[in-house]
Symmetry: C2
Subunit: 208 residues, 2 copies
């Protein structure tokens, strides 16, 4: 099995909630490093990454689909045409590893969903993608669970903190500096980020 | 296998970071409800809960150890005397379920560690507890990994968002209202808490 892994990706002005810590250029490079980590994890798990971008974007090593629709529109245009098992995975999951992606794609249910922090959806694996449609934003995990159930599809909720941890806010960088092993952690360290501890709580600070 | 599950528990004035949402009495009842959820999960996974309290506390159904030491001191007094496999699990993990606890206690390594949010440690399973000592607070996950490795013990890092999600801050309640199925979720709902969505981000609000 070598299912496509659709990875929605925003190359321009990404991760605006990290603006207090990273410049616009650094945010772009950081998002690109996280994407590399996700690509590496899905490739190791024998999936074929396909970037889904709303802006022109060149990639040397993976297929890119350019669309002018939003996240839901672009994925919902692709799914009805998809014939075999398909993974959708977000680009801001730098803790993704082979084992966690394998747990998703080796589900014994029709659909596997990985919830993100705060009610979001970080990954969806669909054995029959044409029977599903996505509905991101808000409490999308609950919406996706209902969409699957309404379509008569059995659902596996995959219990992984590595795939649950999307990097959006400054305090999320703590998780990356503790648990990351790939390019995005290396990039943060290159920029001078280190763990700090204040009154027993762990944060990050930039040393230079 | 029926290992003891040591559960450190603070019955008085718990969860102070939830003070903006819950009164002192509500925080005590909420902490007690979370403890019930953790006890139910470890019992279902065939562990025997033992509460480790620094204050007098009566329980009808489980063993209670009262200590005047702090968290580290009390656990480090118990571990050298423990002869068989032992689980240590925090009381503020209301998403704990049988499957996630089983993944911890069925590790093929000497030690299984479940990282908490922000570098903490939410559960530790020790096949030979006398060879380990705990060092909570700060980035305790990294400390515990090193303590195990320094003692020549192999380490399994268990990838579970259900056990990763400790409830400390107001926004953590979102996770409980989305993924909880036990007494603490029911208690929050009884108090009138519901999910709210503002600009695509999910939060909680108290309706009454």
């Amino acid at each position: 099995m070598c299912p496509p892994a659709l990875i929605p990706y925003k190359p321009k002005n990404p991760k605006t909630r990290l603006s207090s810590l990273l410049s616009a250029e650094e945010r772009e490079q950081f998002a690109a490093a996280m994407l590399e980590d996700v690509k590496a994890a899905v490739k190791d798990a024998m999936c074929s990454p396909v970037l889904v971008c709303t802006e022109l974007f060149d990639s040397d090593d993976v297929q890119v689909t350019i669309t002018d629709a939003d996240l839901n529109g672009s994925l919902n245009a692709i799914l009805p045409q998809s014939v075999g098992p398909t993974l959708i995975i977000m680009a801001d999951l730098p803790l993704a590893d082979t084992a966690s992606v394998r747990r998703v794609i080796h589900t014994d249910k029709d659909v596997a969903i990985v919830p993100g922090r705060g009610g979001g959806t970080n990954a969806i694996f669909l054995k029959e993608p044409s029977r599903f449609r996505v509905d991101y934003y808000g409490a999308s995990f609950l919406k996706h669970k209902k969409i699957a159930e309404d379509a008569g599809l059995s659902v596996d909720v995959v219990d992984s903190f590595r795939l649950h941890t999307d990097i959006d806010e400054p305090w999320d960088l703590v998780e990356l500096l503790i648990h990351g092993t790939g390019k995005s952690r290396a990039y943060l360290e290159e920029l001078g980020f280190v763990l700090s501890t204040d009154k027993g709580r762990v944060g990050v600070e930039r040393k230079r």
